[in-house]
């Protein structure tokens, strides 16, 4: 792990890109779990005996 205070422009750009990719990946995962929950929950609610 490099020291952010000593890194050059290339390192800073690469780190920023990695962080952005990780943030987007995590956000998409949260969204995915939310949508899957809606789909599975929706199916079960529709089949619920009243």
């Amino acid at each position: 792990m490099s020291d952010p205070r000593r890194e050059g422009e290339a390192e800073r750009k690469a780190r920023r890109g990695r962080n952005l990719a990780l943030a987007i990946g995590l956000a998409l995962f949260v969204l995915l779990v939310f949508v899957v929950t809606l789909v599975r929950l929706g199916g079960n609610v529709a089949q619920r005996p009243f």
């Binding site: 490099s2 690469a14 990695r18 952005l20 995915l32």
Partner: protein
């Protein structure tokens, strides 16, 4: 373990594209394609979101096992022309990071598959990742010339996982798709290794041409091809494939056998000269052309087989009922 000391110094900063490369996107696309075929052939109604999640989990699981493979094999990859530009041997990514990526993605893909689809599919996905990373990569690859035969099971399972994700079961037809890929793997990889054998020899990987010689490898390719071609026709007799599949499998199988016979009669793999062997994956020496042809056609044939099944099932064309 060799990978811990293969590249202690990272020379250039890692970009996110380097981590993506660890997942072997090209291999992932073939896995996605065969898994999707299995999912569709299962013939069970599945919510589109859940179908997409199943395919995503299989793709990410395949990527995770690829990252684990690259972590463990960094020392081998550094010695081979074909792989020395990968992120680890090139020094762009640290081994520990590749390991962490592989483990985390494995856990995420298996758990999501279990929660969103079913635990049979999740269990099969976990088994596939472990089999590829541990049984093939860490054990078979460096110890036996049968490495890609047994290890090929990992690459054969995606259609079964796709089928299990949709249907919650794995009937005979799912395993038939698995068997087709399993029997396809040896002729495919050995054809490649016939014109890249010096690369494997330099890395100390006991591929068939390195251990048993080119002639024995060509004979093995022919034997597997003779078993593989009839097996590809079998789905037309088990209620899985239709008339189009029967035609594609028979015609393609004949071409496959002709190419395997021509390779058997050639001298491919016998004139390896490392000093002149810098032609990449498809550009090869004259003597190895028959090996290259079978390698290239094997990819086309497998793609055609699965694409035909996919089209038949998506279009709702009735499968043949040749055997009741």
């Amino acid at each position: 373990m060799a990978m811990a000391t293969a590249h202690p110094n990272v020379r250039t900063p890692a970009r996110w594209q380097d981590y993506l490369q660890l997942l072997k996107p090209r291999v992932m696309s073939l896995v996605v394609f065969t898994a999707f075929t299995g999912l569709v052939c299962a013939g069970r109604p599945l919510h589109p979101v859940l179908a997409a999640v199943a395919i995503l989990c299989i793709a990410v699981g395949a990527g995770a096992s690829a990252a684990l493979n690259m972590w463990y094999d960094a020392d081998i990859d550094a010695k081979m022309r074909r792989t020395r530009g990968r992120p680890l041997p090139a020094g762009r990514v640290q081994g520990a990071d590749a390991l962490a990526l592989g483990v985390v993605l494995s856990l995420f893909s298996v758990m999501l598959m279990g929660m969103a689809l079913n635990w049979l599919a999740a269990g099969l996905l976990a088994f596939t990742i472990l089999f590829y990373a541990v049984v093939y990569t860490a054990w078979l690859k460096r110890s036996t010339a049968q490495n890609i035969v047994i290890g090929g099971l990992a690459g054969s399972l995606p259609p079964v996982i796709g089928w299990a994700a949709a249907a919650g079961a794995t009937p005979l037809n799912a395993w038939l798709l698995c068997a087709i890929i399993f029997m396809w793997t040896p002729p495919h990889f050995w054809a490649l290794s016939l014109y890249a054998s010096d690369d494997y020899a330099r890395a100390g990987v006991p591929m068939m041409p390195v251990v048993a010689g080119a002639r024995a490898t060509r004979r093995q390719i022919l034997i597997y091809s003779l078993l593989f071609a009839p097996l590809c026709v079998a789905p037309a007799f088990t209620g899985l494939g239709g008339a189009a599949y029967l035609a594609v499998s028979v015609l393609g199988g004949l071409v496959f056998l002709i190419l395997a016979f021509r390779l058997h009669r050639s001298r491919a793999g016998e004139s390896a000269d490392p000093r002149t062997d810098d032609h990449g994956l498809y550009g090869v020496r004259e003597g190895a052309r028959d090996a290259r042809n079978l390698f290239a056609f094997s990819i086309l044939y497998l793609t055609l087989l699965f694409a035909t099944l996919l089209v038949e099932h998506l279009a709702g064309w009735a499968p043949l009922e040749l055997v009741r």
